[in-house]
């Protein structure tokens, strides 16, 4: 079977962070928003009115208190339609905020339910000390227990395969239906509880306590139960709380001023003014933004163990990328047939193809493919060549080839092929060594092709094998550079090869012949300079570096140690996803900043609506501030309150989806977001309030 990493469409489109169009069909895209979710989440939104829940969001708590106060006042004066209308809209403001959070959580809940199905109570076959077996409930397993799983069994808990090899269906957690191989030893030994063994028999050593398994953590995570506020979210909450206090102060002190001016205001109007001024838009959407950000990762099959890690991803300034599988396709491929002097390239191609027909290694396959694509040589099947004797590759000969129709064709390492030719009294072309050296210099691997036929044994030419850089990587790294992120390629290759690939892929730096210690040292060096480092890894020897990195993404195919050490797990085991993770982290922060700016900028228009409405009677000059020409004081205040509530609902999709994000420099990004959310936030409420005023002034008795 193929060992190449399947390339997923998600990672191939470098631009699309929103996820539209790039997702596999049938999966909920990163931020799509279904209005029906609003309705479904309504009961949850009501439950969240509990003041003990509300107090966690200081801004919305103030709105709730305001709503309670106006309700009391309206009850005292039941005939006051204005008081009732304001009261209703204040309650709606609180409700809309809760709705935003409930919708965001609802999406995670659906996912958690699917996961729970996988977590049905399993019966484990535990090995006893004397070699026998006993049946125990999955929940009774302890760390260190050995359990047996055979085809059809559900794996009872997280652990490592210690004996045997099996194909496992991990679709319950990854959504990927193709089975994966799990075998003892090496980096593919980890199995996850809740997944199903499809064939063979394995013995698994349990490494996690029941209730703390990967699937349990996943459920907590997607449900938001484990959600903690991230550092930036806390800081933003503090800023919003202080703005709330400022506005509370402005409104509370306004009453004595108003009384002095002979224009005492009702509590209802003051409550309306307060709710309009405090940053309700961002206050209402803040937690939804955070939940949705985590959710966007989950949609991409990445599990972040903490929100802090997601936020750190946005701050990353150095990306360590493994060459194999991330930057290159992961195996060397034939790129060119180079003939020695006096030979035709087609001749080399023909011999190379012939010698590789029985070679099932990826390199061998790629030679046949290149011969077909570039030289039009039809692939011959082994059966077509009657009497062919296939010479397989061995570590001793370091050559492979075929003897057919009196021709002996060989391909292999330079030294071995040269020795073979000389041994038979043949000639080695003068430029053969130069050609192979050139290819090595350029970071490629040369394979010499030789033939012995009626013209005698001789070298025909060289096959240039090289690591093929994935398409679009250079563009992607350019984008990262524009975002201020340095990419470092990590490879076990020698410096020469590494440099060639680094240049071709366009990474900023590389670490050749990298050992886990080198990797660790590099991370520490970058961090000492104040940089945040992200990396991926799957092996046990990656674990220390994964733990040291600020963002450590473990591959799901990796060992338990790697998964423990990292703060994210990629269920698709696709290292390229690191780039998307960084983008999602940034998008999360941008969404918060943009909506905060929008929320504050909104207030200007609300003042122009409410202040003249409150005081134009006492000071007619203030009517000049009514630049929107609102119909009446009551309709003006009502319009502002209604706009303030509706804008929350209007922005729920944006909060869940995240603002559009394109990799660009900080300056360009700031300019763009300031224009849209700053200027837009300044202007849009003038228009919105005016429209609402026009509509409600049509109601008899208001206009």
């Amino acid at each position: 079977m193929s060992t190449t990493t399947p390339v997923r469409p998600t990672s191939e489109d470098p631009k699309d962070v929103d996820g539209h169009g790039a997702q596999e069909p049938g999966r909920v895209a990163g931020g799509l928003f279904d209005p029906a979710q609003l309705l479904k989440s309504l009961p949850d939104a009501f439950k969240k009115l509990d003041p003990r829940v509300m107090v966690k969001s200081p801004v919305m708590f103030v709105v709730e208190v305001g709503s309670v106060v106006t309700t009391g006042l309206a009850l005292k004066n039941p005939g006051d339609w204005f008081g009732w209308t304001i009261t209703i809209w204040l309650w709606l403001t609180v409700l809309f905020a809760n709705l935003a959070e409930a919708v965001a959580e609802g999406r995670g809940k659906a996912q958690a339910d699917t996961l729970r199905k996988a977590k049905t109570d399993t019966v484990a076959r535990r090995l006893t000390g004397d070699g026998g077996e006993e049946s125990v409930a999955g929940t009774e397993l302890r760390v260190g227990d050995l359990v047996v799983c055979e085809a059809g069994d559900v794996i009872p808990g997280d652990g490592d395969v210690v004996e045997g090899v099996a194909s496992v269906d991990e679709s319950a957690i990854t959504g990927e239906s193709a089975p994966v191989i799990r075998e003892s030893g090496g980096d593919r030994s980890a199995v996850t509880g809740g997944t199903k063994v499809l064939s063979d028999r394995v013995v698994i050593k349990i490494t996690t306590k029941p209730g703390e398994t990967f699937i349990d953590r996943m459920i907590n995570l997607v449900e938001g139960a484990a959600r903690q506020k991230t550092p930036n979210e806390i800081a933003l909450n503090i800023l919003l709380a202080s703005l709330t206090i400022v506005f509370l102060l402005a409104v509370v002190t306004l009453q004595p001023f108003a009384i002095y001016a002979g224009a005492e205001q009702t509590m209802i109007v003051l409550a309306a003014l307060l709710v309009c001024l405090i940053p309700t838009t961002i206050g209402a959407l803040l937690s939804a933004i955070g939940i949705a950000g985590m959710d966007r990762l989950v949609q991409r099959n990445v599990l972040a163990m903490s929100g802090r890690a997601v936020e750190a991803a946005g701050d990353v300034s150095t990306l360590l990328l493994d060459k194999t599988g991330t930057i290159t396709y992961g195996n060397r491929q034939a790129a060119e047939f180079v003939p020695v002097k006096g030979t035709m390239a087609a001749e080399v191609a023909d011999a190379a193809q012939l010698s590789s027909l029985a070679d099932e290694t990826p390199e061998g396959r790629s030679i046949v493919v290149l011969a077909k694509e570039k030289y039009g040589l039809r692939e011959r099947h082994e059966g077509e060549l009657v009497g062919a004797e296939w010479i397989p590759f061995t570590a001793q000969t370091r050559m492979s080839g075929v003897d057919v129709d009196g021709r002996k064709v060989r391909k292999g390492a330079t030294g071995s092929v040269v020795a073979w030719v000389k041994e038979r009294g043949g000639t080695v072309a003068d430029d053969a060594t130069r050609l192979t050296d050139d290819i090595s210099q350029a970071g490629g691997t040369p394979l010499l092709v030789a033939v012995e036929d009626d013209k005698g044994p001789r070298v025909l030419g060289v096959i240039h094998l090289k690591d093929v850089v994935k398409e679009g990587m250079r563009e992607r790294f350019d984008e990262l550079r524009a975002m201020g992120i340095k990419t470092v390629m990590i490879t076990g290759d020698n410096p020469l090869t590494a440099r060639a690939i680094a240049e071709e892929a366009g990474v900023d730096d590389f670490l050749a012949e990298a050992t886990p210690e080198d990797k660790m040292a590099l991370i520490k060096r970058e961090q000492a300079g104040g940089k945040l480092v992200a990396m991926t890894g799957d092996g046990t020897n990656d674990a220390p570096a994964l733990a040291q990195a600020d963002v450590g993404v473990a591959m799901n195919t990796g060992t338990s140690a790697a998964k423990e050490a990292g703060n994210m797990v990629d269920l698709d085991s696709n290292p390229t996803k690191l780039i998307e993770i960084v983008e999602i982290g940034k998008q999360l922060l941008i969404t918060r900043g943009a909506l905060t700016t929008f929320s504050i900028a909104n207030d200007v228009a609300k003042y122009f609506a409410i202040i003249p409405a409150m005081f134009a009677v006492a000071y007619p000059g203030l009517d000049k501030l009514n630049i929107m020409g609102l119909a009446s004081p009551k309709s003006a205040i009502l319009s502002a309150v209604i706009f303030n509530a509706l804008i929350i609902v209007a922005l729920v999709p944006l909060a869940l989806k995240g603002v559009r994000y394109r990799p660009m420099s900080a300056d360009a990004m700031l300019r763009r977001n300031l224009l849209i959310y700053g200027l837009g936030g300044l202007i849009s409420p003038f228009i919105g309030i005016k429209i609402i005023d026009l509509l409600i002034s049509l109601i008899p008795g208001i206009g």
Binding site: S242, A250, A261, D315, G484, K531, G593
Partner: protein, 563 residues
């Protein structure tokens, strides 16, 4: 020359003069605060006060220095006023002791670099209080402000240490190497142009129309220069810089405006030098400059363009303005003094047009940061920059950082506390004053207000008093009789809290920043030295201030100005 043109030319001359000294003065101050050497005079002082100028202080120690020094100053100044009655007449000019509430108010006022005066200098304070008390505070309270600003700048410039320098060294150097030399030069210029400098007593002079007038002598020029240079603002005479002995002519008027602005603006260069990136200083300078110029232009426009036959005949709103300065110079001086926490006046803000009065109020409400008081302007602006960086930083998708330091939870908490203080004091005390059913003391001096607009204008006067006090400006909207127990006490408290509480948060912020390790700048970093950021900062300052005070301004100057 038309009055408008003359106003504009004066403005251009002022900007030119400031530009000329910006780099030399800014660089000099950076050297003063980073030099290793101590002057001989400084060593004497350190020995006298028992301070070790080389000892590095963490923020709590630095703060203790600030508070201890200010507390001692407060007590000394209070006692000096209380014992004035028993001093020899050559020192007291025969004035009696100041009442406890007024003595507290005055002491708080000068220690807090506010110079709110509920007394008339020539009718209450003798040479001893004026020179030994008030003039000394004019120097040292300014030097305290500069020291705190430098400590914050060091917080940005240093990393992986909590050390912010030595308060005593910063205080002494600011006084001896910056304020005193500049004052000597400035005083000579003022004397040469006609300001008085003597220790004469009170002269009785017969007036042309009969009757007599008392004229005090005094060390006026020397106090005048530090009054402006240290953004203090407390006049020797009640008429402040409108008095011909303090501010004899149009040139000295412009020169005084220059003195007010020179250190606050040049400190942005000092800041840039100390953090190792002068462009960052230019961005802050640009932010301050744009606001200052915008306010001045707006003020000139509203004062020149005011309608009414009498005003048009005079070439602008001349009520309350000195004939020898005119509308343009008065407008420049008014915005300069209110945007810098100075509070010196060469014309009466109360008599400005409704909107003009509003501009002076709004200028103070910005928090005295454009360019603000000496030192306090810089640290106030940097705190606003931190808030702006936080929001803008999020919008570029990174944990916000400013000058290589992360703006995290702790930094935002401190900055948020900082920006809460003055609105709380201003709105809280104003509301309290308005709410008390029988305000202690008469709020309105009926003679200066027409019956029609007494409501809004009267409110403006109270609002102005607390805005001026809490923001450490010290200028007054004439008409409010502030020498009552209520106002002496509340404004005194507003001044002290408005000065020292922010310092607590600024120093804590400095300590927190200094402990961080620096974050390297990349293409993904918000560029805070670019015009885009300066523009954003201007917008953030105007919007946050505007939103905070809009209702109060609407009921005061707007109600008056839009009618």
């Amino acid at each position: 020359m038309s009055p408008v043109l003359s106003g504009i030319l004066q403005l251009v001359a002022l900007i030119g003069a400031l530009a000329l000294v910006y780099i030399p003065l800014g660089d000099y101050m950076a050297r003063v605060y980073s030099s290793e050497k101590h002057l001989r005079a400084e060593k004497w002082i350190y020995r006298l006060i028992g301070a070790d100028p080389g000892a590095e202080m963490r923020w709590p120690a630095y703060l203790r220095g600030v508070l201890a020094f200010s507390a001692v100053s407060l007590l000394f100044l209070y006692l000096l006023q209380r014992v004035q009655g028993v001093l020899p007449e050559s020192l007291s000019l025969g004035f009696t002791a100041i009442s406890p509430d007024q003595a507290f108010n005055t002491a708080a006022s000068f220690v807090a670099n506010t110079n709110w005066q509920s007394y008339s200098g020539e009718q209450a304070m003798g040479h001893a209080v004026q020179t030994l008390g008030l003039a000394v505070q004019n120097f040292v309270s300014a030097a305290v402000g500069m020291a705190v600003a430098v400590a914050l700048v060091r917080g940005f410039a240093r990393s992986r240490t909590g050390e912010l320098g030595n308060f005593w060294a910063d205080l002494v150097r600011g006084t001896i190497r910056i304020l005193i030399p500049l004052s000597v030069v400035g005083a000579l210029v003022l004397v040469a142009c006609g300001a008085i400098q003597n220790f004469a007593g009170i002269h009785g002079i017969g007036q042309l129309a009969g009757g007599s007038q008392q004229v005090n002598g005094g060390a006026v020029a020397s106090q005048e220069v530090i009054k402006e240079l240290g953004t203090n603002g407390g006049g020797y005479f009640n008429a402040n810089s409108a008095h011909p002995f303090e501010n004899p002519n149009a040139f000295t008027n412009l020169f005084e405006a220059f003195l007010i602005l020179v250190i606050p603006f040049a400190l942005t260069r000092t800041f840039g030098k100390l953090v190792g990136n002068v462009k960052q200083g230019y961005a802050i300078l640009a932010t301050m400059g744009v606001i200052w110029l915008g306010f001045t232009a707006l003020m000139m426009w509203t004062e020149y363009a005011h309608h009414g036959a009498a005003l048009q005949a005079a070439g602008g709103a001349m009520e309350g303005k000195e004939q020898r300065f005119g509308v343009g110079a008065s407008a420049i001086f008014a915005t300069t003094t209110t945007l810098t926490s100075t509070g010196a006046v060469d014309s009466f803000h109360s008599s400005f047009t409704g909107l003009g009065g509003g501009i002076t109020l709004l200028g103070m409400m910005l928090g005295e940061i454009a360019p603000g008081g000496v030192g306090s302007g810089l640290y106030g602006m940097l705190v606003m920059a931190i808030i702006a960086v936080f929001i803008a930083g999020l919008m570029v998708g990174r944990t916000p950082e400013y000058l290589g330091k992360k703006i995290g939870t702790r930094e935002i908490k401190l900055a948020a506390c900082y920006i809460l203080i003055t609105p709380t004091l201003v709105l809280g005390f104003t509301a309290l004053s308005m709410a008390l059913s029988t305000p202690p003391g008469s709020i309105l001096n009926g003679a200066s207000n027409s019956v029609n607009n007494s409501g809004a204008h009267g409110f403006s006067e109270v609002l102005y008093a607390f805005t001026s006090g809490a923001n450490n400006n010290g200028s007054a909207f004439a008409g409010l009789n502030a020498n009552t127990q209520w106002y002496n006490t509340t404004i005194g408290l507003a001044m002290l809290l408005g000065r020292f509480l922010p310092m607590v948060f600024v120093l804590a912020l400095a300590g927190s920043l200094a402990e961080q390790k620096p974050v390297p700048e990349t293409a993904g970093t918000l560029r805070t030295e670019k015009p885009l950021f300066a523009g954003l900062l201007v917008g953030a300052i105007l919007i946050i201030t505007g939103l905070t005070y809009f209702p109060a301004l609407a009921l005061g100057p707007m109600a008056e100005g839009l009618s």
